[in-house]
């Protein structure tokens, strides 16, 4: 054997073979040790699919645990896309036709379910391909039976039950409760992971307004999931049961709303609006607890039944619900601002006292008018309602009889004396805002308006904007425009009686009076919340209401005069309080009441009937538990509609009958009975 023998050459081959095997082992080690974790994750990504199982939302209940929003089962016709795609083309076409025909069986031709619609749904990215894609929601039991009986004709059709929102009391508290709807693309982008542990799917529903929206993070259930192993062709192979997560229902939210008082409030509001024959039959009423800021009732009219929104509505229907001037879905207690009229005298008198224009004991002569300047035009001569002279009035008397002159004087002087007293241009406004006017109360509901307390500056801005937008707003007259830009004593005088461009929400009124009604003059941030608990476990509290103090109002030595003045409005026969006649039959001995009327001149003076009727009340004095604020558009004088409505709201509380009262099933208001109650209350044409 030489060195060049075949045996030697075989040795070369052995070395080659060994090194090749070595290379394989090295690579194997690299893949299965170094890269193993990353590659395993990639395998999981392409071989598993996660299907999210939506969780039921929590319930919404009133303060006495009466369920206002629950869940019910909805029967949904859906299509199993996987099973469908497994069929041959001919079978698919045939089945589509059959499904479309079956689902359209009891529908109008315009609402028919078309093959086109079904195909679009199946390709809709919002719906997981691994769960049946819903086609029609809320089908009847009869329909369900029919579809099940004919199942062999459309094997891919699935009839299943889903939970949807239900409203045992119909429209009761609709504006507070709000509603849920399909999440929009924008909402999804913004909020998909906003709540820890509760991410959104594109097919999810989300609270759109009211409590449904503000307490979304609690009401929304915790979605569950199923993890499926998927074959290369996209078929479900099996479920990875160890990765299954069951959905958890959302928390129950207990409101501070009392369903019984809510019902009475809605009944009273509706009855008085209809009785007034207003050309603008809209209104709002809030019942607030001045001791902690909790809302006991909040009614807005016209109203709607949120159950009509379940499963989505057409654009036409949505337009109908939101169109002006009815704005059916708008909560007028917080979303709309109106002139506060004489109910604003609390604010202007408070400002006058704080600025030193008035003292509580100082008497002012009220001859029925206030002269701002020389001349008898409306710019210079401000008149009382009905030109009634009230004679010599101090603070409490001025409030009881609603002396405009008393307030005109405050407004006029706050402007006239601004330089000599070193005040700014908006001294009056600043003091008024100390009661919470002109800014949002911060209530836990959606779309609250801040209202508007006009200042010389805002007045000019508005005039500029209007002129720039369209000079026709000032009849193309630059003179008129410049005139509008200018703030005068008259503007301050108008502001002092809550007229002009002042905008106040009914809730702001309630909360301003709540500060006075509170023994320590504390004003709270209003809230509709009582407590949040785990689903169906009232003792497992997740969040309890904590009264949030907004401010302490310093009424100083004037507080008693304010209380006396508003007490006189309801109780003083002579001089007659503006709401005295209304409450003559009210059980004032057991439920002492104070209040303030308001009559807001809106539109031109000829259409007197279009005045907004306002009333704010608090009682039982002195340990006030309720503040009521009512506004009825076009309701006339304050004591014509709003004060009688307040009467109707508070009477069952005052006489204790509310305790045994039960809200009728479905929350329906017996309009005739309500009208009869309304007609038993005396009204008067006093501002």
């Amino acid at each position: 054997m030489t060195a060049d023998s075949p045996r030697h050459r075989l040795g070369i081959l052995a070395v080659c073979a060994l090194s090749l095997f070595g290379a394989l082992f090295a690579r194997l080690w690299f893949l299965q040790v170094v890269e193993a974790e990353a590659l395993d994750q990639q395998v999981n990504e392409n071989s598993t699919r996660v299907v999210v199982i939506p969780a039921p939302r929590g319930r919404i209940l009133d303060r006495n645990s009466v369920a206002l929003v629950e869940n019910r089962e909805s029967i949904v016709a859906a299509i199993d896309v996987q099973a469908f795609r497994d069929r041959s083309d001919d079978e698919q076409a045939e089945e589509l036709d059959a499904i479309a025909a079956a689902l359209s069986r009891q529908r109008e031709p315009v609402e028919a379910i078309t093959v086109d619609f079904i195909e679009k749904r199946m390709n809709d990215q919002r719906f997981s391909q691994f769960r049946p894609v819903p086609l029609v929601e809320d089908i009847s039991v009869d329909e369900e039976i029919y579809l099940r009986e004919q199942a062999d004709r459309y094997p891919s059709l699935v009839v299943e039950r889903q939970t949807v929102r239900s409203y045992p009391y119909g429209s009761l508290a609709a504006h507070v409760l709000g509603y849920v709807g399909a999440i929009t693309e924008d909402e999804w982008d913004e909020r998909k992971v906003s709540i820890p542990g509760k991410p959104y799917e594109k097919s999810d529903e989300i609270g759109k307004s009211g409590v449904e929206r503000t307490y979304e993070q609690y009401l929304r259930g915790k979605p569950g999931k199923r993890v499926y192993e998927i074959s290369r062709t996209g078929r479900i192979v099996r479920e990875l049961v160890d990765q299954r997560v069951e959905p958890e229902p959302g928390d129950d939210v207990y409101l501070s709303i009392d369903a019984r008082i809510q019902y009475k409030t809605e009944e009273a509001l509706q009855a008085q609006i209809l009785k007034s024959g207003s050309p603008t039959p809209y209104g709002a009423a809030t019942v607030l607890d001045p001791r902690n800021g909790q809302v006991v009732a909040m009614a807005s009219y016209p109203t709607y039944d949120p159950s009509t929104l379940v499963g989505g509505i057409s654009q036409d229907e949505y337009d109908r619900l939101t169109a002006a001037p009815e704005k059916i879905m708008s909560n007028r207690n917080i979303q709309e601002a109106y002139p506060a009229a004489s109910t604003f005298k609390l604010a202007s008198s408070y400002a006058g006292y704080k600025l030193g224009i008035i003292t509580p004991d100082q008497y002012i002569d009220d001859p029925g008018f206030w002269r701002l300047c020389k001349g008898n035009g409306s710019g210079c001569l401000k008149r009382n309602s009905g030109d009634t002279p009230h004679g010599s009035v101090n603070l409490s008397l001025a409030l009881t009889v609603s002396s405009d002159v008393y307030s005109y004087r405050i407004g006029d002087y706050s402007w006239a004396w601004r330089e000599e007293r070193g005040w700014g241009d908006d001294a009056l406004q600043q003091k008024i805002e100390e009661l919470g006017y002109g800014s949002r109360t911060g209530i836990d509901l959606t779309a609250e308006s801040p209202g508007l307390i006009p200042t010389p500056e805002s007045n000019k801005e508005i005039a500029d904007t209007l002129w720039e937008r369209d000079p026709a707003n000032y009849n193309n007259d630059p003179e008129q425009y410049r005139d509008a830009q200018l703030w005068r004593g008259g503007n301050s005088a108008d502001l002092a009686i809550g007229q002009g461009s002042v905008g106040v929400t009914p809730l702001q009124s309630a909360n301003a009076y709540a500060a006075l009604a509170n023994p320590e003059s504390i004003q709270y941030e209003p809230s509709v919340l009582k407590v949040v608990t785990a689903a169906n476990q009232p003792d497992d509290i997740h969040k309890a209401y904590v009264a949030d103090e907004l401010r302490r109002v310093d009424f100083g030595t004037a507080k008693q005069a304010f209380l006396d003045g508003f007490h006189g409005v309801v109780n003083s026969p002579d001089p007659p309080g503006t709401a005295y006649s209304v409450f003559q039959t009210f059980p004032l001995s057991t439920f002492p009441l104070s209040g303030k009327t308001g009559t807001a001149e809106v539109g031109d003076e000829a259409a007197q009937r279009a005045d907004n009727s306002l009333f704010v009340a608090y009682g039982p004095n002195p340990d006030n538990q309720y503040v009521v604020s009512v506004m009825i558009q076009g309701g006339g004088y304050g004591s014509e509609a709003a004060a009688p409505a307040t009467y109707m709201i508070l009477e069952p509380i005052a006489d204790g009958s509310i305790e045994s009262f039960q809200v009728p099933e479905g929350g329906l208001i017996d309009a005739e009975a309500a009208a009869e109650r309304a007609s038993g209350i005396q009204t008067s044409s006093t501002d």
Binding site: L20, F21, L24, L28, L31, A36, V43, N46, R235, V237
Partner: protein, 378 residues
């Protein structure tokens, strides 16, 4: 047989049991792997392919035994018939109407309804036998003319296989031929010239357009694993490689367990039961299992190499060398391509991949090696 116990040179006293047992065990394991890759994700499981492999294992084992009993030295005289028969089959398979094609390669002859013969697999063995036969006649005295004769003997089947075209088998044959030339005693300088000529020929083949585009893609795409595919074919190859690496890597140290690998069970790796069977091993049994399989194959290679060392004559030595190199090249190329260190070509993993012709050819080759081993003293 009568002197079986008394005669120390009796072939039956020198059976390589390690080789025989390892071979059968690996083949049976291969049957299990093919079944795991073809049973489908959910019941009812398909057992057809697995059973077919078992049948081939039985046939292969019988043939391996028969060839072990057969005295390989008779082939020293009869090799031209074996070689000639293989060439004939390679010609026949190219005839339209006789050969059937799969994925663009005309490489199978349908025999009955059960079996498709793949002549290129048999031809690898034919080439080895032919080379060993011719070279052993030269007794190590290789002048230029004889080297050219040997080259011609190798080139003929390779050329016919390229016409199918079956690139993988051709590449294995190139490796086998080169190793045989080396061991047969061709001088290094001549080997160098041959190697350069082979590289030039390869470049020429690729440039000439003889290869289909997908073959070029397969060959070149492994060099661009981290880049975007340029053609649909290349994308398919890349996908195949990605899924292959994922399957092997996700097996980790100990694997997902038999029938528990999602890549294997759900059919994410294309061609898994044939060329990519190693991924099924890697995913289900991890580094330990795949390493053990490579180890077992290594044992087989080692026993074949050892037999080449021990062979009683040049013919047997060359026979074993050819078989050994055939195994090594196929193992390295096949396992290497599933892990992304070799280009993807259609080469089965010996004894494991699904494919009757390949399995039977491999087992027959190992039967011949056994025959050489048994008769090394007689």
């Amino acid at each position: 047989m009568t002197n079986f116990r008394r005669n120390p040179a009796s072939p039956f006293r020198h059976v390589d049991l390690v080789l025989a047992v390892t071979t059968v065990l690996v083949a049976l394991f291969g049957a299990l792997m093919v079944y795991s890759a073809t049973r489908g994700p959910t019941p009812p499981y398909r057992i057809g392919t697995g059973v077919r492999v078992l049948v081939f294992v039985v046939i292969g084992t019988v043939l391996m035994g028969a060839l072990a009993l057969f005295d390989y030295r008779k082939l020293r005289d009869y090799w031209p018939f074996v070689y000639g028969a293989c060439i004939a089959l390679l010609v026949v398979v190219l005839l339209p109407g006789v050969g059937s094609s799969t994925k663009g390669t005309q490489g199978w002859i349908q025999i009955g309804s059960f079996f498709q013969l793949q002549p290129s697999e048999l031809a690898k063995l034919g080439l080895i036998i032919g080379f060993a036969g011719l070279a052993s006649q030269f007794r190590g005295d290789l002048d230029t003319g004889r080297v050219l004769m040997l080259l011609g003997l190798c080139a003929l089947p390779m050329g016919l296989v390229m016409l199918q075209p079956d690139l993988g088998t051709t590449l294995v044959s190139v490796g086998v031929s080169f190793a045989l030339l080396l061991v047969a005693g061709v001088r290094p300088r001549v080997l160098g010239v041959i190697a350069i000529a082979a590289v030039l020929a390869t470049v020429l083949v690729i440039a000439s357009g003889l290869l289909k585009q997908y073959q070029v893609d397969r060959l070149t795409s492994y060099a661009r694993q981290d880049q975007v595919a340029r053609t649909e074919d290349e994308a398919k190859v890349k996908y195949n490689l990605e899924e292959s690496k994922k399957a092997i890597g996700s097996g980790g140290l100990t694997g997902k367990g038999l029938f528990q690998g999602p890549q294997t069970r759900n059919g994410y790796v294309p061609e898994q039961s044939t060329d990519f069977i190693f991924t099924a091993v890697g995913e289900q049994f991890g580094l330990l299992g795949a390493g053990a399989l490579l180890g077992a194959l290594g044992v087989i290679v080692w026993r074949v190499w050892r037999t080449a060392q021990l062979a009683g004559d040049d013919f047997g030595m060359l026979l074993c060398t050819g078989v050994m190199v055939m195994l090594v090249v196929q193992i390295f190329e096949n396992v290497g391509m599933t892990m992304g260190i070799m280009p993807i070509t259609g080469i089965p993993l010996p004894l494991v991949s699904y494919g009757g012709s390949a399995l039977i050819t491999t087992m027959m080759a190992l039967g011949l090696v056994q025959s050489v081993h048994m008769r090394r003293f007689s």
